[in-house]
Subunit: 370 residues, 2 copies
């Protein structure tokens, strides 16, 4: 069999000479400037899962449509994405979608079961199952989300609000694909890692391929920033395992996406305090901090990166006096840092009182005007 | 109303002049010596949840008896406690029981529902419910476990093996009592903390009262060491919250128990890497380390305390070559430290192959004889 040779010409064509850039007006918003470490007039604020059950407008949509219906409908996704922007004027929108549907294009069957959370009907139970996974272009599973981005980006642009696209990180997606749902100890995922390290590598490589393609296409469709969600690596892995089994793949994602697009990229994880420096070393422009650590620790580990975080979502259930005290603590830790974005340390909870959201947005704004 | 005055005589009687001491022969075992930072001929080894489902002998008992039946029967508890000692010759036994039944004496109704885990039928849903909790002596709920200790301690003594008594930490028990079962985000527990801090304080004080009494009585009954399990604080709390809402109560437990008994006390928690120094500051002789952090970090934070840990329980599901590599890593990090006890970073998993347990015990012994 003849070897396939890559000629210098082809190599050049694989190296995009022109990066995809973001809208120059949105580039000057306080959210994007803060992501890039530039000083701003006010601290930008948005909340993870800001389009969600705590809003009556959202619940009204979900009363009539399943989670997957909303994700697959560009119109409904766009509408839900706009809800918290219209209600609270957050400094950034995040496209309404979920990290898991990307797996369906690869051959996994996904369902959201009320009260039970997401379930994979045919979880990866052998190395052969990993080898059978496809790596199709993102449109195969995420056309709805890409179309929703196209639909909502101009509407957000009119409000001078950047849109964040996102993706689950390889470990988080792999653990769902292997466990078949959420997990407490990730026994199957880690047993695969430790027992079949080359199959783990093939799985992670496949996920990275699909994820990079999807992230780049979100920027092409109109997203002005990106976020990688590594929600589960910290709960599952030791520092040594993180470095061996996760870091190479997250690093690939940040590097490959950054080669192709010129948009800020947020590197978010939870429970990774034992090795936050290794998380930061994967790349990205912004290091996301969960609420468990003091924000000053995140700044210490972030180096040149900006920092996003880290109000405890449950603080929003507390009386105003206590909530304000906690906002003050977060702001005090961020004092004097240019690259800083106010956010929760994880997603907002469904039972959050709406007035506490408004009050928090107003208070953070008023404090940063002082 | 006349003030109650405590006379100097009464104060003296509240201050036990004679501490409860442990068996002097067991005091010289490698487990107890390591707990106290003394050098030993070999590294002592035991596993959290070593009496459990991975053993056929245990499954045979549980096929005929529910979890609560075993806990409430001194004979069955004693039998199950001995199983891993007889099979593997671990350097310490831990009394077979559970952290939750202690709550039943206070007025909470507990059930273990197969597939769902422990459930509290009447969770604490108001500050009044907290005020209605009783603080009875430990015998009210834990007579079975105290009798099991009395039954099994002489049998263990004949094998020169110390017995560990244990208790759940106040936060961990409070979160079960408030959430009614396991939790992902501890929203109700934290909302109570933030909204009714004085009710939280009353709840924690009641738990401490009951826990101290129970721990002291376990040593009186024949336990030679104690362990406090704070399994959930790290998953739930920030450093600032840990210091405010947990540290004072854990500190009280270590201090109050140590005033009354002269037995080594293990301070175990998981997911507390962001503030392990604050965990260590609560007290105890041994700092337990989960598997997420390098053991060297635990030694760095432990100060004068001994360290116990921290093989990932899931390493026991891996092929021997990988498992051995991971044991070597743990032992290398502990190299040169006298106060060190080999253990898992959390409880052993039900699907652990029995031969990997034997091999691990043998290997740790052979390595530490070199």
């Amino acid at each position: 069999m003849q070897k396939i040779r890559i000629t210098p010409y082809e190599l050049d064509s694989m190296r995009p000479t022109q990066k995809i850039t973001i809208n120059p007006t949105l580039r000057q918003t306080r959210f994007i400037k803060s992501c890039l470490g530039e000083s701003t007039d006010q601290t930008p604020i948005w909340f993870m899962r800001q389009a969600g059950r705590y809003m009556a407008e959202y619940r009204a949509i979900r009363a009539k449509h399943s989670m997957l219906d909303v994700i697959n409908s560009p119109e409904l996704s766009a509408e839900v994405t706009m809800q918290p922007i219209n209600a609270f004027g957050f400094d950034a929108a995040i496209i309404f979608s979920d990290i898991l549907p990307l797996l369906t294009g690869m051959g996994l069957k996904l369902d959201f079961i009320p009260g039970k959370g997401p379930q994979i009907e045919n979880p990866l139970d052998s190395t052969k199952a990993i080898d059978m996974l496809a790596t199709p272009p993102a449109e195969v599973s995420m056309q709805g989300t890409l179309d929703a981005i196209k639909l909502v980006a101009p509407e957000l642009e009119a409000k001078n609000t950047p849109l964040i696209g996102f993706c689950g990180a390889p470990f988080t997606l792999a653990s769902y694909a292997i466990e078949g749902g959420g997990s407490k100890v990730y026994a199957k995922t880690k047993a695969l890692m430790y027992t079949h390290p080359s199959a783990w590598q093939r799985l992670m490589d496949k996920l990275v391929t699909v994820q990079v393609d999807y992230l780049v296409k979100q920027v092409k469709a109109g997203a002005s920033a990106l976020q990688l969600f590594d929600s589960w690596a910290g709960a599952a892995l030791s520092k040594a395992d993180y470095i061996q089994y996760v870091q190479p793949y997250n690093t690939k994602i940040f590097a490959a996406v950054k080669r192709q697009v010129d948009a800020p990229f947020i590197n978010f994880s939870t429970g990774t305090h034992a090795y936050l420096e290794d998380v930061a070393a994967c790349g990205g422009d912004v290091l996301g901090a969960d609420w468990r650590m003091p924000l000053s620790n995140a700044f210490a580990k972030a180096g040149d990166m900006a920092v996003m975080g880290n109000l405890d979502p449950i603080a929003l259930l507390a009386p105003w006096r206590e909530l304000r005290y906690r906002i003050d603590q977060v702001l005090a830790e961020a004092e004097g840092h240019d690259g800083y974005i106010f956010n929760l340390g994880h997603g907002i909870l469904p039972n959050t009182p709406i007035e506490n959201v408004q009050r928090t947005v107003d208070y953070v704004r008023s404090k940063s005007r002082e």
